[in-house]
Structures are given as C-alpha cells and as structure tokens.
C-alpha cells in the first residue's frame, strides 16, 4: 500500500469535517430542544384562535361538560394527544379536523401554554 504525499492533510480535513458534523448535529439537537419547550406567547395566541372556543381561554372553561380541561395538563401529554388526532390514531369529530392543520410548532406552543395554566392536578 502506498499513500500519496497528500494523505496526511486529507485525513486532517476528514477529521475537521467530522468535528464540524458533530458540532452541527449538536446545534440541531439544541435547536430541537428549544422547539420542544414551546413558545408561551405564540401558544397563547394560537390557543385563543383555535382552542379557546371549546376549551376556554386558559383551558378551564369548557363549552360542553365532556370537553376536557387542559389547564395544567402535562405538556408532553397534550402534544401526544394532538399528534394522535393529527395522525388519526385518536379520532373525534370535533378534534380531528382542528388538529389536522396545526404545525408541529403550533402543537408544541399551545401544549406549552396550556400546561402553564393553573387547573388540573395529580390526584392520588
């Protein structure tokens, strides 16, 4: 096996590329993490537009008794429920069409907003 003289620098370049790739992946994970937390203000606005009519502005005053309260519910549970409605894994004539047009960001934002309201509690 013979190596061209330029072998060493090439390897270095590869190493650099790897480092950059790892760094880039790290940055995207961090960015995804930020999205995961949800934007409270964006969530409040979106919730007022699409959720409030049935669940109440803060998720406590529901239009009908069999509509769930969302205030204080777990953030990740609300995200899970909305994704299930969106994917058709959970179906409801009212919720399915409401969830469909939501973006991934909308879902995280409204879930974050409702999770921060005072309401539901863990009851043993």
């Amino acid at each position: 096996m013979t190596r061209p003289l330029g072998g060493a620098p090439k390897t270095e370049t590869k190493t650099m590329k790897r480092i950059l790739l790892v760094a880039a992946v790290g940055v995207s994970i961090a960015a995804a993490g930020t999205t995961m937390a949800g934007d409270y203000e964006a969530g409040r606005k979106k919730a007022a537009e699409v959720c409030a009519a049935c669940h109440g502005e803060d998720g406590n005053k529901t239009l009908t008794p069999d509509t769930p309260r969302l205030a204080g519910q777990y953030y990740d549970y609300i995200v899970h429920a909305l994704l299930a409605f969106q994917k058709g894994k959970r179906e409801n004539p009212l919720m399915s069409p409401m969830a469909k047009p939501l973006t991934r960001e909308d879902i995280h934002n409204v879930a974050y907003f409702f999770s921060k309201q005072k309401g539901l509690e863990t009851k043993y």
């Binding site: 005053k61 204080g72 899970h80 509690e121 863990t122 009851k123």
Partner: protein
C-alpha cells in the same frame, strides 16, 4: 328560578351517577400511573400519564367508555377499562373529577 332548577337537576344527576367515596375505594388500578406526579408511560410511546384531578366528570366518563369500547386506543387503558362497569366508571369519575364550569 329556571336556572336554579336546572342547576339543581344537574347536581342531582351527578349525585345519582357516581359516588366519589366509592370511587376512592376503586382507584387502585388508576393510582399507579395517574397518582404519581410526573409518571411517564413506557409503552407504546413515552409521555406523562394525564392529570385527572379536577378534570370534567363527563369527560372522564366519556374517555373510559371510549377506552372500554375500543374506539380510543391505549393498551393498558383498554384492558383496565374493560374491567369496569358503568357504575365503576361513574364512581371513579366522581372521585377524580369536578362538574364542568
């Protein structure tokens, strides 16, 4: 007057529907997941088991009926709900929930 009667009728209805104290005696199968703050399901996907304290009674009743009928799907909730009678569901909902605002 009419409003008062309507409220009276609806609380009577709930009182007849479920017994909170009896629900407290029946919740052993609920508390392992719903009674632990921050408890996260391990299967089929990971997320927090929803808080039930202060939820609307009628919603809890509907959710349990849907799980029992299989129209709403979750492995553990489907099997747990399958073991509940209408009265069990009403009692549990009365224990965990409150009347809708």
């Amino acid at each position: 007057m009419a409003l008062g009667m309507a409220f009276g009728a609806s609380s009577l209805l709930h009182a007849a529907d479920g017994d909170s104290a009896v629900g407290r005696q029946k919740n052993q199968m609920c508390e392992g997941c719903h009674g632990v703050a921050g408890f996260r399901t391990a299967y089929p996907v990971v997320y927090s088991a929803p808080k039930l304290g202060g939820q609307n009674i009628a919603y809890i009743v509907k959710a349990l009926h849907d799980f029992r009928a299989g129209t709403r799907k979750h492995p553990s909730m489907n099997s747990i709900a399958a073991s509940l009678s209408d009265k069990d569901i009403a009692d549990l909902a009365a224990y965990y929930g409150v009347d809708a605002k």
